[in-house]
Amino acid sequence: MTEKTVEHLDTVTIRFAGDSGDGMQLTGNRFTSVSALMGNDVATLPDFPAEIRAPAGSLPGVSGFQLHFADHDILTPGDEPDVLVAMNPAALKTNLDELPRGATIILNSDAFTKPNLKKARYDSDPRHDGSLDGYRVYEVPVTELTIGALEDVDLSKKAKERAKNMFALGLMSWMYSRPLDPTVEWIESKFAGAPEVAAANITALKAGYNFGETTELFSHRYDVDPASDLPPGTYRQITGNQAIAYGLVAAAERSGLPLYLGGYPITPASDVLHELARHKNFGVRTFQAEDEIAGVGAALGASFAGQLGATVTSGPGVALKTETIGLAVAVELPLLVLNIQRGGPSTGLPTKTEQADLLQAMFGRNGEAPMPVVAASTPGDCFDTALEGARIALKYRTPVFVLSDGYLANGAEPWRIPDVQDLPDLTELPAFVAPPEDGEPFEPFTRDPETLARPWAVPGTPGREHRIGGLEKAAGTGNISYDPDNHHHMTQMRQGKVDRIAHDIPPLEVGADSDADADVLVAGWGSTAGPIKAAVRRVRAQGHKVARVHFHHLNPMPANTGELLGRYRKVLVPEMNNGQLSFLLRARYLVDAVGYNRISGLPFGSGELADVIVEQIRAAEQDPAGAAR
């Protein structure tokens, strides 16, 4: 065995691609976990079809997992992969376009059979027809080597073949100097009930690693140091869906209210339901309802009964829940509506990301039905956003929209684990009405003068029996009222309650990475935070001046929003929709916001955004008199 050169890299982007059944998501997740444990900063982009198992080897069946890891703070899963691991011709074909020339391709040569080439609609073998010129191509007979390594194992050939993703993981682990131990432990615990399967997977994993070590194919291996510029602390890896679930548990613990989650399975939100179902020892009730409507109905019922009611869904589910959400606005009870957005309209792109439900959250109800809206910007931020949503819901007795999206939901990043003591204390917020001292009448629609919130009297409290409902209520008594002035008054109270939150949230601030004398402000919300930050970094590295701001509160927006936007000559709003935040900013602040809108189901690339920003900077330079307002 020859000693191979170890080359230090500061950043690597790998894409694993194969059939839906090839275990690419698992391979990517394991590689990510190990890289995170090694202290690299990581960002991931799982990209899989909605079909569970499209025909093997076909183009629609390709499942991919992109992973960016580095020795420094990174913000996106990487624009273009440096390395593509393609388990079959279809995986090569669907990913080749996004691979820059000079990138490395590792192919499972066993899968390049005539039938597979045909299924991938290749007329000729791309390995031999010049398609791969300019790439560094390594052909590895992954299937054959896996089966060979498992020669003595008593499993069917098919079962042995299934371990080929572990072989690939082992090989990549060798190539990027990742330890195998955490994955070995993970396999042992995952297949505790099937020791022969565990053994086979471990053998395949090690075989892949050893193959890298011994083969003459590779002359180099690589190393990426731990990221040293992350804030000090203890870290773990977390996905957005995990974080949002933890945020709900934390909100329940910090408010002293039991959590009640009513939901219905829907991509990409189901994992939140799954995660919470595992934590019943926190007193978490999860209710898988007969439909989306019942999920939110039960959650609202639980809120009425004095619990922290929440429902989790995606856009189509929100559409169904809309009437109940309006009811929650009318009865003024706390309720969290988590929308893990996906591509629309209608069924749209269930497994792809989009941020096109902002205006649905803002306006998608009949009547004047204002609702606070908060949005998460990174997987880890989903935790804080869920907690913030709960704070607003409890304090102001209102349903709150918490927006995430498919990219955040399934994407992973290192998360600095918060100290529970430092989390917001919500214990004062529920403030259930106590039984009356002397039989004074109870008026469920009186209001707190500061927040305009109404009292929360829960069933079981003697002397506070009252009725609520979707009909308009008289201020104070809550009796049904058709009085014109009362309706106007109540409408303004519901609006005013939401408006007042603007003074109860942090002011909008430009990012620390902003130039004080910039002409162009890039404004974003939601999961575009990473790509925007990365683009701003690039633009500034090129010597341009630019500022950046990110909205966490979309309704209401911070009180200083208009003033801040007015400081810049140009406001650029990149969104994975047709300009929904732009629309709000233009309407509210009369600012001539310029949109950059691409709705592809994928997050923005930072290079793409950097070009757009530079374009705006140049435009501002050429129009020195112009101003945003």
């Binding site: 100097s177 330890p179 639980a302 619990q307 003697p462 409902g469």
Partner: protein, 364 residues
Amino acid sequence: MSDVQTLTRKDFSSDQEVRWCPGCGDYAILNTVQGVMPDLGLPRENIVFVSGIGCAARFPYYMETYGFHGIHGRAPAIATGIASARPDLKVFVATGDGDALSIGGNHLIHAMRRNTNITILMFNNQIYGLTKGQYSPTSELGKVTKSTPQGSLELPFNPVSVALGAEASFVARSIDNERQHLADMIKRAADHPGASFVEIYQNCNIFNDGAFDAVRKNVPNQIRLEHGEPVRFGEHGQHGVVMAGHSELEVVDVADAEPAEGETLGVQRRLVPAEDLLVHDAHRDDAGLAFALSRLAHTPVGPTPIGLFRQVERPEYAEQMQAQLDDARLRKGSGDLQSLLTGNDTWTVGAEPSTNGHGGDGSA
């Protein structure tokens, strides 16, 4: 807690003016329900009435209990949330035939299947009242209404059959003007642990007056089901029900019984000895008999069974949900938020002391 012993009907009457049409059957139902409440032996504050939309759905406003007037069809969903969050509460749903069986059909059947502790009182008037007289899912075939000027083309639901098909563990039927019988059914439904369903024939004197006259005014047509008793009806008990072939029932005349005035027994129906009559068993595991009884009258235009069709014991949902929570605490201990957030795989950046994470030395 209010003193349960001294509660009276009046204590359950809210200060709101009742706004149903004069002569509506809902008044009688409201009075009966308010009368039953003290007999439940529950503190008033532990009772919740939930409703959807429709005339029946105004019910909670008139009850001096906790109340939630929801949206069309969704009362069972809201009630499920309340009942499963708080097993200490007694939750009622007041609903109508349109609310429960049309727009809310899905929630109704799943609430019954799930067996959450909810008592569903369905006021069936076979018409949409609040929207002024369109046919409902229980209106008879051919019903002429504003929305069906040439007659309805839809076979109606038999609500009791629907409930039995949806695995309800308690299914009964009563009539708005049969105060004693109605009170008895509601009390038994409320005492039942699990989902209970009571269909109440309710006269809408404005849009569907007289729809139930065949049983409401003609008492001998009421086939009153009593567990353990032969199924007999008629003013002298001169008619009855027997098993006839494979899960079919037949209405017969009872031999040696006294006929009604001008009636000759054994002419229109078979004459059968009293000892051959079907004995009602409401507690049978199998819902077949109760279902067959429900099919004796698809719509109430002749002899129609009322009373308790079926009551069986089945695990209650909220109790089981609570048991899973208790079990999880027993196995894993009460949740510790810090350990949940920390998880199993951590690493440390910078000065903070290292925790329990896997090492990151980069070697395999």
